[in-house]
Symmetry: C2
């Protein structure tokens, strides 16, 4: 069975991606991060998801992204709430974490190399998303090129790394339908950037709004509980 | 004054690079890592060096690279000693840490973006080096391309990131001569992969051997103390 590393935040997109990875016949190695995110609640969610979707291993790397701050997700900057669709479409929001996906993919690459894997799955999406630059197809392609030049596997063994982003051109509703068809239990997932102290999703941040819109458009009810 | 982020391990190459960064007129922001390296002694060395070379700030990010192991520098794998030059030339050694420079540069990119800097200095060298794939010019160029696609600065502000590797085509002797001319105090630097419990350099690992050869070829005496 071919191995693949899957970046698993514990949110809706990465969970669906893990289910796709398995359905594509890979033995999946899930990787999560504690990076000082205000919504660290996603990490225990990821642990349950990895188990429920039969990941072969799940590792959680503790890394420090607060060292530079610069984002509403890692510093004392307010998470924007109840933004309209045109507001969301206007540029990259303060929840952008500088170079986050570059850092996450670099770690995935390191683990892939140790495992002898050449496939890395990431749940980035460039349709119903927050406009983050490191979610776009051209970023993913550039990382693949880098990966082949950066590693012993690429240089000595001619390994050709593939960064698979199966959700990149799907709408949120399509992602949810795909996940449901693969048996994903979305009640386990956590998407909110700014949960309440008891762990409930706020329902108003960009991430909650995109998620709720997705379920609405898919004609389904989101199984998680919202604070509002 | 233009800002630049400098990757500073505390070794001979990165120290010289910091001196060059300053001589080139940049305000320098030095970045080091505790990543579970067996030679963590390099981190306090980096602290003294950053101070002595007038870095504006020095940050130390604590990140976990032991989570995947895979290298003699982060796992219980023996560091090779007393290898001959032809042995060293034969492929990538076990001291290679998977994706390390990709991870380090990703962090440097994150900090650069927060600082509004577009220049990143790295002390990689492709002449007197250990054959690591992520030290070569093609790797550096691929990372620059990625950086421009990965960041808000690159996408929204048209920033053009430059990864400067001023040592890349110098011999170790040339690096040392350059550093001396810039006032570098090499007694502060630590290069050994496998120091003794009291912090002395072993004199036999690849890194010690390349360093000693450099000083010899430069007609200078290495000011640090060796165990043998």
């Amino acid at each position: 069975m071919k191995r693949a590393v899957v970046l698993l935040s514990g949110g809706l997109d990465s969970t669906t991606t893990l289910a796709i990875c398995r359905a594509d016949g890979f033995e999946s190695y899930a990787l999560s991060f504690r990076y000082g995110q205000r919504h660290e609640r996603e990490v225990p969610a990821a642990r349950k998801i990895a188990k429920s979707l039969g990941a072969k291993e799940h590792r959680i790397a503790r890394i420090d992204l607060r060292v530079f701050a610069g984002s509403a997700l890692t510093a004392e900057i307010e998470v924007p709430k109840a933004r309209s669709a045109p507001e969301m479409a206007r540029g990259i929001p303060v929840t952008y974490v500088p170079a986050r996906n570059t850092i996450f993919l670099s770690y995935a690459l390191a683990w892939a190399e140790v495992l002898g894997a050449t496939d890395i799955f990431i749940g980035t999406n460039a349709i119903d998303y927050s406009g983050y630059p490191d979610c776009r197809p051209e970023f993913i392609r550039a990382f693949e090129k880098l990966a082949n030049l950066a590693t012993r596997a690429g240089v000595e063994e001619g390994a050709c790394f593939q960064v698979r982003a199966p959700l990149i051109s799907l709408s949120k509703a399509e992602i949810i339908r795909r996940g449901i068809s693969l048996g994903v239990d979305y009640s386990l997932t956590h998407s909110c950037y700014d949960p309440t102290s008891t762990g409930l999703a706020c329902g108003a941040c960009d991430s909650c709004q995109l998620r709720l819109k997705g379920f609405r458009e898919a004609g389904l009810v989101d199984p998680i509980v919202y604070a509002t």
